[in-house]
């Protein structure tokens, strides 16, 4: 006998079909949807070198500062000053169609050059002198989320960005594995026997409630994800797989507002060029496939894709043909009907750097978050982004 069948039968035998009503209530799917607009975050971890991504190809300072590192060949020129790294070729058509907005010089006051700290700042939307214990998307969930699956991270661990004060998103690199562990018959029996209507009032109740919610989220994702194979071809790498799964969830119409993905390896202190070329190719090819997949299912217009990195890199190359941690960097926003596509603003002056020789920021990253929350997600940014922000007009 199959194990699955076997277990099913034994559950039958024990006659445990009674499901307490509060468990049902918790497991029932919220009828009220959060709306259709979705946000996909792509985190480039390690500090992507923005100056070799969007290249100031007419600028002597750029070439002089990077004698062995400046990109000289096959630059994809987009205007008189700026061009794509050759690896970004797959994104050219998005740029041309007005579906990509490049925001230059994004950062924050008193930039921190530690990966961990700067990533925390980006993920919590804090200033460089404050320590927040919840992420900006987590705080969005606190106020507007109903179920853990309203925000899904395509990883085994949940990033700080997705942790709220009271409410967290769910992390899963493989929803089928999540489903299989949650459906262990032993857990099912325990939940079905549990009797206490006062869930979450005390620690033990909270544990049971979270267990029930985890199980119901795993079930929800599993039951509602359409398994029909996407006709879109994706590159063969982990990052592409993350985006492929996101597309599957979006095209299955899951009630998930936020998806979080990540591509690492951008900390290019030595021999940068090959490494960055490879990573940018992975990024661009995967994103291009992802957008095509969404367009095929007509879900692209309800999806906004934000790409960021925790900091940019120093203008001057180092002795090891790499670059060291910098400050302000570019951010990509991809979507349909952008208000201001192409280059949102000019690249900051390479003549006017900060004390470390890094680009100065002109746009606070938190104003991008605030704009996305209020103009895209249709919620007030005020209690989610701590410091008051000027709204931008890219969407």
């Amino acid at each position: 006998m199959e194990r699955r069948k076997f277990l099913k039968n034994s559950a039958l035998a024990s006659g445990l079909f009674f499901v307490p009503s509060f468990v049902k209530a918790l497991e029932s799917v919220a009828t009220e949807r959060l709306g259709y607009k979705r946000l996909v975050i792509i985190q480039l971890a390690g500090g992507n070198d923005g100056l070799n991504t969007i290249i100031p190809y007419n600028n002597d300072i750029y070439y002089n500062s990077r004698p062995r590192l400046a990109i000289t060949k096959d630059i994809i020129k987009l205007n008189d000053n700026l061009g794509f790294h050759p690896s970004l070729a797959p994104l050219r058509s998005l740029f041309d169609k007005g579906e990509l907005s490049v925001i230059n010089n994004v950062g924050y006051p008193n930039p921190v050059r530690s990966h961990f700290r700067s990533m925390d700042i980006w993920q919590t939307a804090s200033g460089s002198d404050e320590y927040l214990q919840s992420g900006w998307l987590g705080r969005y969930l606190d106020r507007h989320g109903k179920k853990p699956y309203n925000a899904i991270e395509m990883d085994e661990q949940l990033s700080l960005a997705m942790k709220g004060e009271h409410f967290n998103g769910i992390a899963t690199s493989d929803y089928k594995v999540l489903y299989r562990s949650a459906k262990d018959p032993y857990f099912k029996n325990v939940i079905n026997h549990y009797n206490d209507a006062h869930l979450s009032e005390h620690n033990l109740g909270y544990l049971y409630q979270t267990m029930i919610e985890a199980k119901s989220s795993a079930n929800y994702i599993y039951d509602n994800t359409k398994v029909k194979l996407s006709q879109q071809e994706y590159p063969q790498n982990k990052f592409a797989k993350q985006l492929k799964n996101v597309a599957q969830f979006i095209n299955s119409d899951l009630d998930t507002k936020v998806f979080y993905t990540s591509l690492g390896g951008f900390d290019t202190h030595a021999n940068q060029n090959n490494k960055q070329s490879r990573l940018l190719s992975q990024y661009a090819e995967s994103v291009s496939a992802f957008v095509k997949d969404l367009k095929r299912d007509k879900t692209f217009e309800d999806t906004l894709i934000l790409t960021f990195s925790e900091f940019g890199r120093r203008l001057k190359q180092n002795a090891a043909n790499g670059t060291d941690h910098g400050a302000a960097n570019n951010v990509f926003v991809i979507g349909k009907n952008l208000k201001k596509a192409g280059f949102y603003n000019n690249l900051g002056s390479l003549n006017d750097l900060d004390d470390n020789g890094d680009l100065k920021y002109t746009i606070d990253f938190r104003s991008i978050y605030a704009t996305i929350l209020s103009q895209w997600m249709d919620v007030s940014a005020e209690d989610i982004i701590p410091a008051k922000q000027k709204l931008l007009d890219f969407i």
């Binding site: 661990q157 942790k163 899963t172 262990d184 026997h193 009797n195 620690n203």
Partner: protein, 457 residues
Amino acid sequence: MKRKELQHLYWRAGFGSNSKSLKTLPKSREQVVENLFKSSKSSTPLQIDMSFMDGISNESLKNNPKFAQELRVKSRKKVVELNYAWVNQLVQPKELLREKMTLFWANHFVCKDNNVVYAQKFNNTLRAHALGDFRTFVKAISKEAAMLKYLNGKQNRKAKPNENFARELMELFTLGEGQYSETDIKESARAFTGYNHNFNGDFRFRKRQHDEGLKTFLGKTGNFSGDDIVDIILEDRQCALYISKKIYRYFVNPEPNKKHIEAMADVFFKDYNIEKLMRYIFMSDWFYQEENIGAKIKSPIEFLVGMVNVVPVKFEKEKDLLKIQKLLGQTLLDPPNVAGWKINKAWIDANTIMVRLKLPSVLLNNAMISLKEEGDFNDNFRKKFFKRNKGKLPFKVLPDWDTFSENFKFAKTENLEDYIIQGPVNKGTLDYLETLNKGSKRDYCVQLMSLPEYQMC
């Protein structure tokens, strides 16, 4: 002492107990508590192999940035080794209470450094002072290389003060938010100017960078040094109260009890002796009250160490140990930020609860939680199941069930929950446990560990 009380004490002062170790304990509370402190008199520092640093000086790095970079990478890998060494020390401690206190202080004086020499030194400073004099402790922390780096103390100079350490010293380490003004922060930051360290991580006071001027801090004026600032802070009973509350929430109950915390603060304020404070708690009747037993949600490390104390496991790949910490949401030596990990309910979300419920069966029983009603899992089935699961499991471990059998030989299988589970069990779950066939102590142990109740201690 009743068995339940002993178990309670050993969960809070350590990482649980077993039927055999409980048998060897003396009868009176006084003696049990005395033993705990006695066996933590000494201190065993972590000491990993640092030979990769032999013969390396600041000068040799300055002239060779590439080598310096390689060394940084090596050091970061060594921090992982330090993590394993710490976990192992927690699993097999010479000084149980001291280790538990060290773990507590690591989430109080929160610090992180990729330089393994400084990280180890910092960790051993926590251990050395864990049961000592809080005043000396704070002063030592303020002079640790790792801390001087982490909170920018070494950038704090007369000409350009950096307030980071001064702020956290008061907000997180001693007084708590709102007990001081922004001016107090600025003035005390001046007192800590000139603090620095050398290449080996030893404290160095750079007199030329120290601000010798008058400072006005918490209502007092003088040419204060950093140590003076610590002394002035400790004159405020609020400091004793703040630390008492934090210790209460960690060692007694996450729900604060004002009366008990005030009583603790009275004890602590007298001389800031940590050992005396802990002794007061463990000797108090209220510590053993029903409402405090099994009242707190285990931290991931308490969960993990507690579990391998019941059934020892050997990890075939040490890397798995790190992976498990990450999945559970607490990697030692890698705190999320200077405020440290939030405790209790904050450990649990939809992701971590599933990991916790699943981990005991994955580590101990090839991911199988028996349903053990009559005839369910015969040996034949078990064999097949294991065969099918082989190689699919995320971790390679060898559970030592023989030691489990020896340690729990005084516990009858049908009473095993009294040993494994610390707090009350939900009524419905209790009914379900009744239906289980308790033919195998092993299976029942895994079943108990796979319950929400097992998350409590």
